[in-house]
Symmetry: none
Subunit: 120 residues, 2 copies
Amino acid sequence: MVYQDPAGLDRLFHALSDPTRRAMLQALTDDEQKIGDLAKPFAMSFAAASKHVRVLEGAGLVSRRIEGRAHICRIEPAPFAAIDQWLSFYARFWGGRLDTLEALLRADDIPQASTREDKT
Amino acid sequence: MVYQDPAGLDRLFHALSDPTRRAMLQALTDDEQKIGDLAKPFAMSFAAASKHVRVLEGAGLVSRRIEGRAHICRIEPAPFAAIDQWLSFYARFWGGRLDTLEALLRADDIPQASTREDKT
DNA sequence: GCGTTATTAAACCATATGGTTTATCAAGAT
DNA sequence: ATCTTGATAAACCATATGGTTTAATAACGC
C-alpha cells in the first residue's frame, strides 16, 4: 500500500531542488507554455533552460506535446500527489491537517502509541 | 507570513532527493538516534553517513544534541510544514490533500486508480 | 595513562550537475 | 529556395555531490 518508487522520489525531489525549475513549474500553473516562453524569464541560455525542462519531464512533473516546431509543456498533477503522500507519513510530527485522520488510517500498523511530542 | 526562502527549499528538496537520507529520516520517526545508529543500516562508511546527516541538518530536517561522545539526532517538524505549504500552492489545481486522503481511505475497499502514479 | 568508542576533518576521487557555445534539424514565413 | 524561429545535440567546463581512506579529537572504561 502507498508504495512509492524510491528512484522516482529521487528524481522528483531533485527536480524540485532547483529554483529555476520551481519557477518554471509555477509558470506552468497559469497555462501551458512553449519551452521558449518558459526560458525567457531566466538569465541563462535557451539550451540551459531546455535542459531544466527535460529534468522536470524526467521527474514526471511536466509533459510535452509537439505542435509544429513548438514544444508545449503542461504541468502534470500526479507527482504532487506522490509528494503529498510521502509527506503524510510525517504529518504526525508537525501537526499537518492530515494528522488526526492519518493517525486513524495507520492505527492498525502502529505497534504502540508514540509518546513523542514535538513542539519546536 | 507565507514566505519561503528559495535557498531553503533548494536545500530542503536536495536533502530529500537521496534515498539514504530519506531512510534516515524515516528511522528518526521512531525515536532519536545516535549518528552511529543512523549509519549502521547502510552499506557505506561511517564518514559518508555522517555527511548525509549533516546535509539533513543543513536543511533543518534534523537537529543534533551532543551527549558525551554521542551525537543524538532528532527529526525537526518545521521543514515538513514548509513543504506542505509549498505543495498547497499546487493543490489548487491537482485536487489537494483531501482527495489523496480519501483515496487512501478507500484504498482498502476500492481497487480503483487513486492518486498513485509511481511504478515508472 | 591506555585502549576503545563516537564522531569530525581533511585529502582525494569519480561522477553528476548546471552552465556555456557551437552545430544541427525541422517547421513557418517570405 | 531562403531566411528565421523553436528546439535538440554535442562538446566542453567548473563546481557540487557522494563516496573513499586516513588522520585527528574527545569521551568513556579499565
